[in-house]
């Protein structure tokens, strides 16, 4: 009996899924967001191919050159090529965003499922999440990053922790709803183990909302990384990150506006594309919410 309950939806889901992907690619916001983020990722991966310059190479005699054919985005106070630095900055920003996504996603999925499955410690977990959530994420991350010291890994750790509580709430809410469904109850009655119920029923049903949430987290994490680096507790120079290029360019913003203009546009584009993706995925998984209404 449990076999029927488990395999039936899977059989239906396979043909539906391929059609779903096609429908998703007909969503304009999804396509725009998808194209931008793929282009940015490719630019980050192939940074050494796209630009032959060294992001850290200082050529004082070329300092503060305005954007031109030779220097697409101009040069900074050390004569470094801003275009190359923005390209290499993409690596850091996308890496931080993606790592935070994966880390906080895994942690919130596990904690959320534990809260759903082991009702006794649910209260304790949720109070801890309430405590973490009472801080705006950027402040919490600032405190943790400050304690861990400035480095890429501490930024990832700080932001992951900061975004865990929201994810746990989402997984827990979805999990609690699924748990009450008849097919989960019948699986329970027919003797399916707790592990089987979690992996076969609860987790798959939490994945949709979590995926939408993580798309937004990707965007927030990149913005927060830039903010932390700007405040000086994130990625440290000479390593280029979009945030610290802006921080360094800030002092010369009046005369050499290009140094801080282009990395800002890059962050905005990246975050915009992920927000578009998240909105589209949300619409798609819950059509009732179409258009935010």
């Amino acid at each position: 009996m449990s076999d029927v309950a488990i395999t039936a939806p899977a059989v239906v889901a396979v043909p539906r899924r391929s059609g779903a992907l096609r429908r998703l690619f007909r969503h304009r916001a999804f396509v725009i967001g998808f194209c931008i983020i793929v282009l940015l990722t490719l630019a980050a991966i192939f940074a050494p191919v796209i630009s032959s310059a060294d992001p850290a190479a200082m050529k004082i005699r070329f300092r503060f050159r305005a954007p031109s054919q030779a220097f697409w985005f101009g040069t900074d106070q050390f004569g470094r090529d801003v275009f190359t630095r923005v390209l290499y900055g993409a690596r850091i920003s996308l890496f931080v965003g993606f790592s935070v996504c994966v880390t906080s996603g895994l942690c919130s999925a596990s904690l959320g499922v534990i809260a759903v499955q082991f009702r006794r410690i649910d209260g304790a977990i949720m109070r801890l999440m309430d405590a973490l959530m009472s801080f705006p994420a950027i402040l919490l991350a600032l405190g943790i990053a400050a304690a861990l010291g400035p480095s890429v890994s501490s930024v990832v750790a700080a932001l992951s922790v900061a975004y865990i509580p929201a994810g746990v709430r989402i997984v827990r809410a979805a999990g609690l709803t699924v748990r009450e469904m008849d097919y989960v109850k019948s699986a329970q009655i027919s003797g399916a183990s707790g592990l089987r119920i979690v992996t076969r029923h609860i987790l798959p049903n939490c994945l949709g909302p979590l995926l939408v949430h993580l798309t937004f987290i990707f965007a927030y994490a990149m913005l927060a990384e830039a903010a932390l680096s700007f405040l000086g507790v994130g990625i440290q120079p000479p390593m280029a990150s979009w945030g610290n290029i802006i921080a360094e360019g800030r002092d010369y913003a009046t005369e050499a506006w290009w140094v801080m203009l282009f990395p800002g546009i890059a962050i905005s584009l990246a975050a915009l594309s992920l927000n578009l993706l998240g909105d589209a995925l949300g619409d798609f998984l819950d059509p009732r919410l179409k258009g935010g209404g």
């Binding site: 109070r127 801080f135 400050a146 937004f216 830039a226 405040l231 913003a253 209404g293």
Partner: protein
């Protein structure tokens, strides 16, 4: 009503306790010996021992937590290492700057956000709706500090409309105070208007599809009255739930905005404390902010049940 407040207060107690312990653990996150890190690499063994003793780091862990909680219960949030001041007085000194920034920005955000959100809901799927939703999308995509720097370059340096940085206290007159705060507050609110407009739009769309709105229209009430009197009032209840988030976000956002405009608020103090390795100040400030956020959320919850009788009788 009193019961609701009591229950909410009781729920806040464990959260406050957890925040206190988390703030304590913040110092133990430091890689290596906190005493060495705080005193500095070149400090003499005597200086390190002094810091260790001063912070009670030589005692057992459990005892440290007990002392920490005991001090907190007595309103002692620790003392700054560099400011020669207790954390509480340091925060108290800078609180007016941060709060006035948050308050001024909210005074821009709330009317604009509610207005734009209602407009978008009334003209759903028209260009106004699209424009408002685009503003909302940009608000969560563009980095605030970047726009702040661009704002300084444009309005202070190029156009010279407002001073580029620095804070003028309210006691020096409303005009100069406003001039020093208006640009940071506007930029801060720019990033919240979108969020509030989106919330308002969703709430308004929900209300506008109700039967009593159709009745109001059917009995010949003007559109202005239907939307203003019936729809907006009911939507406001849902909008109030975002009040806590808005205020917390305004304080959180001011950390970064203060840095750009060199406003001597709490955010700037925390960042300076981090740079100076003044960890007790960071720890104490985070803790006070944590308490403040718990109280803000509590207040928003109570406000919500005050505004909506249905919540009260649940």
């Amino acid at each position: 009503m009193i019961r609701i407040i009591a229950v909410k207060l009781l729920q806040a107690v464990p959260v406050i306790l957890i925040i206190s312990i988390l703030a304590f653990l913040l110092l133990s996150l430091l890689p290596g010996d906190p005493a060495v890190i705080i005193a500095g690499e070149q400090a003499s063994p005597a200086a390190i021992a002094h810091v260790r003793e001063q912070l009670g780091l030589d005692r057992p862990y459990v005892e440290q937590i007990a002392i920490w909680l005991f001090n907190l219960a007595h309103g002692n949030f620790g003392a700054s290492l560099i400011l020669n001041q207790s954390v509480l007085s340091a925060v108290g000194e800078r609180l007016p700057v941060t709060l006035s920034l948050a308050a001024l920005s909210l005074s821009f955000t709330i009317p604009t956000g509610v207005f734009l959100g209602s407009l978008a809901a009334c003209y759903r799927r028209r260009w106004i709706d699209a424009a408002v939703m685009t503003i909302a999308l940009l608000g969560v995509s563009v980095p605030a500090f970047w726009v702040a720097i661009l704002g300084v370059v444009l309005f202070s340096v190029r156009l010279g409309w407002v001073p580029s940085s620095g804070f003028v206290p309210l006691s020096k007159g409303i005009g100069p105070w406003f001039a020093s705060m208006v640009l940071p507050a506007l930029i801060l609110s720019l990033f919240q208007i979108g969020f509030l407009a989106r919330m308002t739009r969703a709430a308004m769309l929900d209300v506008l599809s109700q039967d009593y709105i159709r009745t109001a229209r059917a009995k010949g009430m003007s559109e202005w009255q239907t939307v203003g009197k019936h729809a907006l009032r009911n939507a406001l209840i849902m909008i109030i739930t975002t009040a806590g988030i808005l205020l917390s976000a305004a304080i959180g956002g001011s950390v970064i905005i203060e840095q750009v405009f060199a406003l001597p608020g709490i955010g700037r103090m925390v960042v300076q404390a981090i740079m100076a390795r003044d960890y007790p100040l960071v720890q104490g400030t985070m803790l006070i902010l944590g308490f403040a956020f718990v109280i803000i959320n509590l207040f928003a919850d109570v406000l919500y049940s005050l505004a909506d009788p249905r919540v009260r009788h649940e």
